[in-house]
Amino acid sequence: MSQSLPAIIYPVAIPLMGAFLLPIGARRMAELAGLFGRIVVLLSFSTSLALAVSIWTAGPAVSAMGGFAAPLGIVFYADRLAMLFLLALNVAVFLFWPRGQGAKGGPCTLMLALLAGGSGLILSGDLFNIFVFYEITAVASYGLAASGRTHAGFAAALRFLILGSVGSSLMLIGIALIYARTGTLNLADLSRIAPHALTGPVGLAAFILLLAGLGVKAELVPLNTWVPEVYGAAPARVSALLAGVVSKLAMVVALRFVVQVFPGDGAHTVLLVAGILGVLAGELAAWRAGSLMETFSYSSIAQLGMVALAFSISGAAGIAAGIALALHHAVVKPAFFMLAARWRGPVGGLAGAVKDSPLAVWLFVILSLSIIGIPPFPGFWAKFLFLKAAFAAPSAGVWIAVFVMLAGTVVEAAYLFRAVLVFFADGERGGSTPRFAFAQLAPALGLGAVLLAAMVFIAPLGASISGMADEASNAAAMAARVLDRGE
């Protein structure tokens, strides 16, 4: 039932080779570096697409690196969930490829390293290997945060690096705890050993420590103080990429840990608490924020909190809701960031923007309606899946999660409509707000088109997501695919 697919390494190996090659050529032909990088990303994307097709038709795939079978060596494990986020990462890296005067060798190399690291993060089935790929992703994003080469960018990157390294060290302590208890690092192996070896306070502490590492990228409270600083100071494309996709990769890894290593109630409660704090703190801060950039930085914290809330509902339904929310956010939030990058400054200064840039304003309206959850936009379906999962598995914690999610939605609606009202304010003749060049609006328009397409294909999309969630929630089947290969 599981196929062995050594080619799963390509989504990591191709960008890695590109990253190693790029600096050699970039010295002579700086203007070609961007083009070369894009070709590498396209190559990586098409390989990933071919692999995804094979996995969709033939089921999850496993590859043992170096031919050392599962618990001894490192394995890559690719199911539909992994492939979905792998493709999303590839698309996002292509869409938000660095542009402008600063975009010579450095940022392009970092972008390719980020792609390789993120791909490995999502595909790896080994605890320490996940840590290593997480560090690649982290180091690349510290560099990208500084890639605007502004004073604020350097300072924000340094503070981000310090927080992130503390998180990574805590994560390593968690790995040491788990290894001391179980003697293995393989996730599939752990899913068999952990239920009786990693119980009680040690298991809970190990999960909290791992989450402390992942939480920095996943913008979980209280590890997200870097969010407004970095998103404010980094180039808009980098903010869009980090908030849109990289944060979701960390969430998906956290989900893998919950399903395979910490299936008990404790881990779900931790996620619930982190989610509640994230939604409340994020939405309130977003409501008080002065500029669109700040608003979206904080609301991204809130949306990742909602994903954590969904993952805290045990069972496949909760996972499906979390995937839908994460995916929806991965489409909408980067588009918001691209708009906010042009509309800097206090929201009040944008009065009458509809006369200057009608297309951008209407895009903003559609994105807002979707993220609030107005039918028939995809955001409604994501929140609907959340409620459905909650009603299927009712408990006190779940009702709190539902209440927090709805309260968050109300606040969200309040600040988004406030901004929309300003755009449509009467009495302004226009001409006072920034206009968009087509190249600036194109990535956001593309994402808007994806959103509308998703609205049309909502039924097959929903079925596909719930199939994905079933597959990703069955730890026993995953362990069997990795370990019982009868070789």
């Binding site: 004073h151 310090i162 800097r344």
Partner: protein, 123 residues
């Protein structure tokens, strides 16, 4: 006894490092704290794999001289040491730039300036 000492030493380093990050304001000092904390984590990881009476995991002409200590944590620590150095180098490069830009390395002062600059970019 040996175990208590090693675990205590490792956790002690982690806590001293965290103190330097949380309670001290100078960014350079925070980076020292990071280095100390990483050392503690590495010691913890290496201690986990120790066996009393075990030999170093190196064979002599293809045969083990006796029971070995666990080689996996050693490989992990090696990896972690090199990762720590890479992060340290990047942090120091950023420190050079932040110092040039703001003339100070006081974390709170830097955070204040950063907020102000993000605000200016807005208006």
């Amino acid at each position: 006894m040996t175990g208590t000492l090693l675990y205590g030493g490792a956790i002690g380093l982690v806590i001293i490092g965290l103190y330097a990050i949380v309670a001290r304001r100078h960014l350079m000092r925070n980076i020292f704290g990071l280095a100390v904390m990483e050392s503690g984590v590495n010691l913890l990881l290496a201690s986990v794999g120790y066996r009393p009476g075990g030999h170093a995991p190196i064979l002599v002409a293809g045969a083990a001289p006796g029971p070995l200590v666990d080689p996996i944590p050693q490989a992990l620590v090696l990896t972690a040491i090199v990762i720590g150095f890479g992060v340290l180098a990047l942090a120091l490069a950023l420190v050079v730039r932040v110092r040039q830009a703001y003339g100070t390395l006081d974390n709170r002062a830097v955070a204040r300036r950063l907020r102000a600059e993000n605000g200016e970019a807005r208006s």
